[in-house]
């Protein structure tokens, strides 16, 4: 078969992927780590690489065309928040956004280094950003989650005071799926001090949960593309009207000076399109995830020795479970040979102990055997059946510790 130019590259890539699939049905259940790119979105990204490839800052028409695509992406992302496009800053990902919000605020308020409050179960990028603030002279209060993994809202409210500049709490926990009552959190915190800013890492919630920063009282919201079937390397930060951060990068002024550097057009535009597509299916997918989760839990309840770590009311697309006596990593490798992909703790920690589960007060045996099943839009009931069956098989064949 002959292909030409960019179509050829793309077709060849699909061709190769299909070749490998012939051996083993892929059951990818690690969507909280990352997701496959939606082919429509990939096609659009390619268009931005090879056809509409202008630099939005160029004066000529090619630049203008690119600028229009960027405006469209910003509008698509802003619609998810029911917000004005000017509220959106495109960044290099969730980590980038979290740093910009937290460290950017710390720099903006450097003259009055007060307090920051953070949920102890946050992603490493939030915790490390807070560590940096602490090293710069800020007082950082880390609030342990409740035993069920949800943030301790009372402790948050108690820790917020007249000196508290910013609090940070994620919308959905990436390991357990625990959902934060953001409205209650922001109300409680702002009742103590109306000027306290509320930052929310919504990487695991964006386009999956209803997120209106105005009604939820959020000043900053971070999101990432590669969790919603867009390519890795692009994310965004929503900034409420009136908020101000000092940028961490210096350069030519793109993104209102907050994230300079020639815009990652394929990344940002793909993110915009993916957000629009995912948001349109939000309710439908939520129902589907709920049904899939119920099916899985039923199957798991029939396997003795399996316990569920995720709390009641957790997001249906993340399920954390433990199999005390077996090691997570061994189970993961066993399952991958059956084509089933899951993770233990957060992917970023590369197998290190889950600080989230530890913060929840779980026993060592439970932490060491924790597995996370996270659903995406392409998962089917068969994927979950394969996981359950595979897990049962693993428990039978693999030696206990």
């Amino acid at each position: 078969m002959r292909y030409n130019g960019t179509n050829g590259i793309f077709a060849a890539l699909i061709f190769c992927a299909q070749e490998e699939e012939a051996f083993l049905e892929e059951r990818y259940l690690d969507n909280s780590a990352t997701t496959p790119v939606d082919p429509e979105v990939a096609r659009y990204a390619l268009e931005l690489m090879c056809q509409n490839y202008g630099n939005p800052s160029s004066l000529h028409h090619k630049g203008f065309e690119a600028q229009l695509a960027l405006e469209r992406a910003r509008q698509q992302a802003a619609s998810v928040f029911s917000a004005d496009p000017r509220r959106i800053v495109f960044t290099g990902g969730g980590t980038d956004s979290n740093n910009l919000a937290i460290c950017g605020t710390a720099l903006a308020l450097r003259r009055t280094k007060g307090r920051m409050v953070v949920n102890a179960a946050e992603h490493a990028s939030v915790l490390k950003a807070m560590d940096w603030c602490e090293s710069e002279g800020w007082e950082v209060v880390r609030v342990a989650p409740l035993a069920d993994g949800t943030p301790d809202l009372e402790a948050f409210a108690a820790a917020a005071d007249a000196r508290t500049a910013l609090v940070s709490c994620m919308a959905v926990n990436s390991e357990t799926g625990a959902v934060t009552d953001l409205r209650r959190l922001s109300r409680a915190v702002k009742a103590k001090n109306p000027k306290t800013l509320v930052h929310c890492d919504a990487v695991q919630a964006f386009c999956r949960l209803e997120l209106n920063p105005k009604t939820l009282g959020l000043d900053f919201v971070s999101a990432s593309g590669h969790k919603i079937n867009a390519p890795k390397g692009a994310g965004l930060l929503y900034m409420a009207p009136g908020t101000r951060v000092v940028p961490l990068l210096h350069g030519s002024g793109q993104e209102g000076g907050l994230h300079p550097g020639t815009e990652n057009m394929p990344g940002f535009c793909a993110l915009g399109l993916a957000a629009q597509r995912m948001q349109a299916r939000r309710a439908e997918l939520w129902d589907r995830y709920t049904a899939l989760r119920a099916r899985l839990v039923t199957k798991l309840q029939q396997i003795p020795g399996v316990c569920i770590n995720s709390p009641e009311g957790a997001a249906p697309y993340i399920l954390n479970l433990s199999v005390p006596g077996w090691r997570s990593e061994t189970l993961i490798h066993y399952l991958e040979r059956l084509g089933v992909y899951v993770s233990s703790g957060s992917a970023c920690s590369k197998g290190a102990r889950s600080h989230v589960l530890a913060a929840m007060g779980l026993s060592d045996a439970r932490i060491d055997s924790a597995l996370r099943v996270s659903l995406g839009q392409y998962n089917t009931p068969a994927d979950l059946d394969a996981f359950a069956a595979g897990l049962q098989q693993a428990m039978a064949e693999v030696a206990r510790k």
């Binding site: 004066l59 028409h61 203008f64 600028q67 229009l68």
Partner: protein
């Protein structure tokens, strides 16, 4: 709790026989503004229009949408309840609970337009006030300077309870005064001028002059964004883009430099008038001021005025730049306007523009060009595009 929006007309109430038409136009405009929020049923009584939601639309969004509709003096969001004293009291207590708990003094103001209701307005106020005093121990009555005024209206269709009104956008409904053509350059002033005339009831169409390659796609895109920003106030806007390069180059080649801007503006006015007449407009609108730039002296305005038969409305002519900027900020057009893209007016600027021109001199200079033919050509070549309220 079932809610309703009360829309109070201001000036319309003065219009006598025309009132019905004005109100119908206002209702039509309100409907269009609320289309993206949800379904509303409209009814009218005395000088109030009622917008009752069908289903459960976002009422905050509805109020925001109505806050930019000209012809509305005030807006209230009210709870609907039965015309029964007990129900009214309970409704007031529930609907306004947050506000009532947060204030110390209040009073009740009742309007009773349904004369069949057994109690008179003062009695209703007394009863409701008494009930609220019983249920909110923090409250005292103060009839002179209360923190909160609880409004009760007993109308034919039902009873409404609300506290406070939002100011409306004022003015008269767009479309009730005819149509006008706005010369829109991309600067700060023209969008403000357009909205000010829309506020007096005029439907606005836009006329913009483009001179590629001297002006860019981005300059046009900027104007399109401005027009879109005007739609919440002006309603649907047709924008005509006139290809102006040929005329500008002919001016540069045939007219003395000091008169460039003046002749250019005269051409713009003639072309705008041509489009205006074709589109049934009764006036032109510009963002001209006096004294802001060299070409905007009284004498210069006199020279541009003489070329058109239609009246030229210049609503910002008496305003300071700061005032115009403030209005532009409120319209949310300011940030777009200050983007630095060349527009026609800055393309061939003379070093020493004539500040006290005489119309007779300009007429003479323009003999070098076939003005009528150029104007006709430009009017015919204008490309129209419509911008709808989103």
């Amino acid at each position: 709790m079932k809610e309703i929006i009360l829309i109070k007309n201001g000036e319309i109430a003065l219009k006598g026989l025309n009132r019905g038409n004005f109100e119908d136009m206002l209702i039509k405009n309100c409907k269009r503004h609320l289309r993206s929020v949800g379904d509303f049923k409209f009814s009218k009584a005395q000088s109030t229009i009622y917008a009752a939601p069908v289903g459960e639309p976002d009422m905050d969004a509805a109020l925001e949408r109505l806050s930019t509709v000209y012809g509305i003096a005030a807006l209230s969001r009210a709870a609907v309840t039965e015309k029964d004293l007990g129900a009214i009291c309970a409704c007031a207590g529930e609907y306004l609970a947050d506000q009532l708990s947060a204030v110390r003094t209040f009073k009740v103001e009742t309007k009773r337009s349904d004369k069949t209701f057994p109690l008179g307005s003062p009695q209703i106020s007394a009863e409701v006030g008494g009930w609220l005093l019983d249920h909110f121990p923090n409250l005292r009555v103060d009839v002179h300077q209360p923190d909160l005024v609880v409004n009760v209206e007993v109308r034919d269709f039902g009873a409404y309870v609300h506290a406070g009104q939002l100011p409306g956008a004022g003015g008269i409904p767009v479309g009730s005064g005819g149509r006008a053509a706005l010369l829109i350059s991309g600067g700060i002033d023209s969008p403000v001028a357009g909205c000010m005339m829309a506020r007096r009831g005029l439907e606005i169409i836009g006329v913009h002059f483009a001179s590629p390659p001297y002006t860019s796609d981005r300059a046009l895109h900027k104007v399109e964004q401005l027009v879109q920003k005007m739609t919440p106030w002006c309603g649907r806007i047709y924008l005509y883009v006139v290809p102006f390069t040929k005329i500008q180059e002919l001016i540069r080649d045939n007219i003395p430099e000091d008169y460039f801007t003046l002749v250019m503006r005269r051409f713009m006015m003639r072309i705008a008038e041509g489009i205006a007449l074709r589109e049934d407009c009764g006036a032109l609108v510009t963002g001209e001021s006096v004294g802001q730039v060299a070409s905007q002296t009284m004498q210069a305005l006199a020279c541009t005025d003489t070329v058109t038969a239609l009246p030229v409305l210049r609503p910002v002519i008496g305003m300071d730049k700061e005032e115009i900027v403030e209005r532009a900020r409120r319209l949310d057009t300011f940030e777009i306007s200050i983007q630095p893209y060349e527009d026609c007016c800055t393309v061939f600027t003379p070093h020493h523009p004539k500040t006290k021109p005489k119309a007779a001199d300009l007429d003479a200079l323009e003999q070098a060009l076939d003005v009528e033919a150029l104007v006709r050509e430009a009017v015919e070549a204008a490309q129209g595009r419509v911008f709808y309220l989103e």
